[in-house]
Amino acid sequence: MEKVLTRYIQPDGVPLDARAYERAGGYESVRKALRMAPKDVTETVKQSNLRGRGGAGFPTGMKWSFVPTGPNAPRPKYLCANADEMEPGTFKDRLLLESAPHQLIEGMILAAYAIAADVAYIFIRGEYILAIERLQKALAEAYEAGYLGKNIQGSAFSLEMYVHASGGRYMCGEETGLLNALEGKRANPRTKPPFPQVSGLFGKPTIVQNVETLSNLPHIINNGPEWFKKLSKSEDSGTKLYGVSGKVKQPGLWELPMGTTIRELLEEHAGGMREGLAFRGVLPGGASTDFLTAEHLDVKMDFGGVQKAGSRLGTGTMIVLDDRTCPVGMVRNLEHFFAQESCGWCTPCWSGLSWSEQLLTSIEEGRGKPDDLEKLEFICKFCAPGNTFCALAPGAVEPLQSALKYFREDFGRHIQAQHCPWR
């Protein structure tokens, strides 16, 4: 398979410096794009059908087309790279940040050029120390080589780019929470509309894109939308960084064609379950996605395929549940995370998620009551889309509602025996 996102990544993971990156073909797309009209860059990305790799899967080119353009558009305009990888079980952007920082910068220059952004921020987790160091170094090199700053490569286009290391909170990964965090505030979500494309960072037009999404852009500009579509095995274009964690033989991360099946990932790439363990289920795209089970192994890991099976592609990094791990304990761990990371802005989220954690804890510790399952089901409805300010709570109850569906007997056994059968 043709390597795209991992093309520049060396076996030792040390990133290429700007010179070596250029020699390998890096920054070529910037020169090409600067000869194009910004709207043609957007059009190329639209035609490629690139969809956001952060979890929501929104079409990238379409997102850009909402940004006001022309001489009367508000300035400055902003571009933010969402490098706040905090979805439990997700470890894909770390690779791109640590090992291909110039590819991200190149993609950001293209996105900024398309929407005529003046300033770009890379919003990165404070815990990603190595990635921050390498990004800072790459940024300095990119300025030195004339890819950032005033009049990039002799053109009329100028762009400043900075790194912001986060103070740490899951809510910062939410688009409008990220903007509040960049403004030095608590990362509460904002009401939409207005959408950030119109009124975002400091009230100006702003685009927020995931690291993997941005890292695809140089290749789309270099090779064209048709080439990008053909990389995939499905309706969704391109390749995808897929990950597997949990008790499989070889947990890991692989760049594969979009639409690779769960079975192929689990059996061929992750080497199957560890000796003596059986597969019970999987969260296909990180902590905030619904469980899938053995009947879904042939589901294609693309946006439509996983949705049809009742879950979401999310970040494409799956977490495997084995038969020696308690599903109630696993869901309790997940809800603990979501309850802790809830910003507290809206009631279903702060109240519902901490309540779910309490109920799951009492069930796991042998104090569960028969009507606890109905209460948990109520919480899932209470936190559904439309009842909350942002996607945190609806995402948080996805693993809970599907665990209640697929592992209901296990919940029942806990309550009947007043004991966790796995302990």
Binding site: E87, A181, G184, S245, A287, I319, M330
Partner: protein
């Protein structure tokens, strides 16, 4: 009072944003990098520099996991307690650390050497369980590995 270096570093950050309060988090991190934590006094000094109220800044400080509003030990151990690490043995890692250090999560050893904290997913799930000690990530942890890491911290 903020030191000249702290003030200088914060002023460098201010050049990158159109508003002063935007550097709230960066400013607290700059101070914390030198002092280990953000005291009430430091909070007031930063707030004054950024022209916001200390209470307002405190509401930001207490929102973020990586800003410490209480003193910490010379080394801060942050153990990932999220789902992949939980499946792969977080409970064993926590038990080993609390036993070895004689403290619970959220506490500091009496000699001021270590503070033990839980942290959310560190994004290294294919090498779980994991933890960070100060700026360094440690992966595929077991008791032996943890003991070696602790020994290296003076």
């Amino acid at each position: 009072m903020l030191s000249a270096e702290e003030r200088h570093e914060i002023e460098e950050e201010l050049k990158r944003y159109p508003s002063k309060r935007a550097v709230s988090i960066d400013a607290m991190k700059i101070v914390q990098r030198r002092r280990g934590w953000v005291s009430d006094e430091a909070l007031r000094d930063i707030a004054e520099l950024l022209e916001i109220s200390a209470d307002d800044l405190d509401s930001v400080a207490t929102f973020y996991n990586l800003i410490f509003r209480k003193p910490v030990g010379r080394h801060v151990i942050m153990v990932c307690d999220s789902v992949s690490c939980w499946i792969m043995g977080y409970d064993r890692v926590r038990e080993h650390l609390t036993k070895r250090l004689g403290i619970n999560m959220g506490e500091t050893t009496p000699d001021g050497r270590f503070t033990l904290l839980p942290i959310v997913c560190l994004g290294t799930c294919d090498h779980a369980p994991a933890m960070m000690v100060d700026q360094q990530l440690h992966r595929d942890l077991d008791a032996e590995k943890i003991d070696k890491i602790l020994e290296q911290c003076s």
